[in-house]
Symmetry: C2
Subunit: 197 residues, 2 copies
């Protein structure tokens, strides 16, 4: 049976980019200097993995059935911005003055991995567009091969429902991940998005 310290080091390795050495440093750091913070992390983490689910409107993370953004009366219901991940959504929300709503794919089209339209919620998105409230679909997938393919698919769905598709202006570096673009660039790209042909 391994010691609690060994178990703790092992447990930290579930975190992204955390190998054996980093996990050791984390365990030692918490035990040496951050017991109170460690206690709090343990409590919040236990609570979050049980209670954070997905918003039934936008698929973003949410504790409630409908997230605060989707429930807000202050957001513009005519604009819907589609992103691949919650991190991308957060990046846009923090960098731009966007006041519309979001739709989080939680992935992108990737037929080779068995990820088709259903897996990223496009049936639900189509339903939503059919309701007629959305006028503009802002496509903010990542500028990767799969992201671009997803963007074209999204534009098709939009047009089928007479919704105007638009996409972020070039400025986001090709092959890059939206999440890592600096705020200024992202804000500019978001502001000068163009209609999709």
């Amino acid at each position: 049976m391994s010691s609690l310290l060994e178990q703790l080091i092992e447990a930290f390795r579930i975190l992204p980019g955390v190998g054996q050495k980093t996990a050791q440093r984390m365990a030692y750091h918490v035990l040496e200097r951050e017991r109170e913070g460690g206690r709090r992390l343990a409590a919040v983490l236990a609570d979050a993995v049980e209670r954070v689910g997905h918003c039934e409107r936008c698929r973003d993370f949410s504790e409630a059935p409908v997230c605060a953004t989707c429930a807000s009366q202050a957001r513009d219901r005519h604009q819907l911005c589609v992103v691949e991940s919650p991190a991308d959504r957060l990046a846009i929300e923090q960098a731009t003055g966007y006041r519309g709503l979001y739709f989080v794919l939680q992935g992108r089209l990737s037929p080779l991995d068995g990820i088709g339209p259903r897996e990223i919620g496009l049936d639900r998105l189509a339903q939503r567009l059919a309701e007629g409230e959305v006028h503009e679909l802002i496509v903010a997938t990542n500028p990767t091969v799969e992201g671009e393919a997803t963007a074209h698919y999204l534009a098709q769905i939009a047009r089928q429902h007479s919704v105007r598709p638009s996409r972020l202006a070039h400025g986001v570096p090709l092959g890059g991940e939206l999440e890592y673009v600096d705020r200024g660039t992202l804000s500019h790209a978001f502001g000068s998005r163009s209609e999709m042909e």
Copy 2:
């Protein structure tokens, strides 16, 4: 009141080297792909911060009053290796064939920060040397200014109790941290440690 997700991101920031972006990635990663691992991390972390204390013999982390190494009958009680931190102790244990005991300072002499001999347990170390069981004191502090000053102090205490002080061979890079030395170098340096004059 911030959302559970925001609280989780904030809580991850207690970890060393984890800023806002990394904390976000950790939270999203756990919620997207590692709920079971997150549950386990929360449980082990909560347990560890309550139950992991310090060994009363060597000051290393331990759930029991005396750690497994100090309690072991298989270790050579005539050799005592002094290190600054539990991470250094672990590095030596994993890299070398050392079968003696350890003493973990949990710091180093740093008069400007108010860290004197008592704060790093040197009174207890002196007591231990006075018991007469230890024949060789292997000084494995880091090759930094404060680590060197601590090493000289340790050598003095050893001599006062007629214990032979030794130190790791040169080979550990100057100004570096023991914890990051590759195994081969560390093993070689440990093997060719020399008596301190």
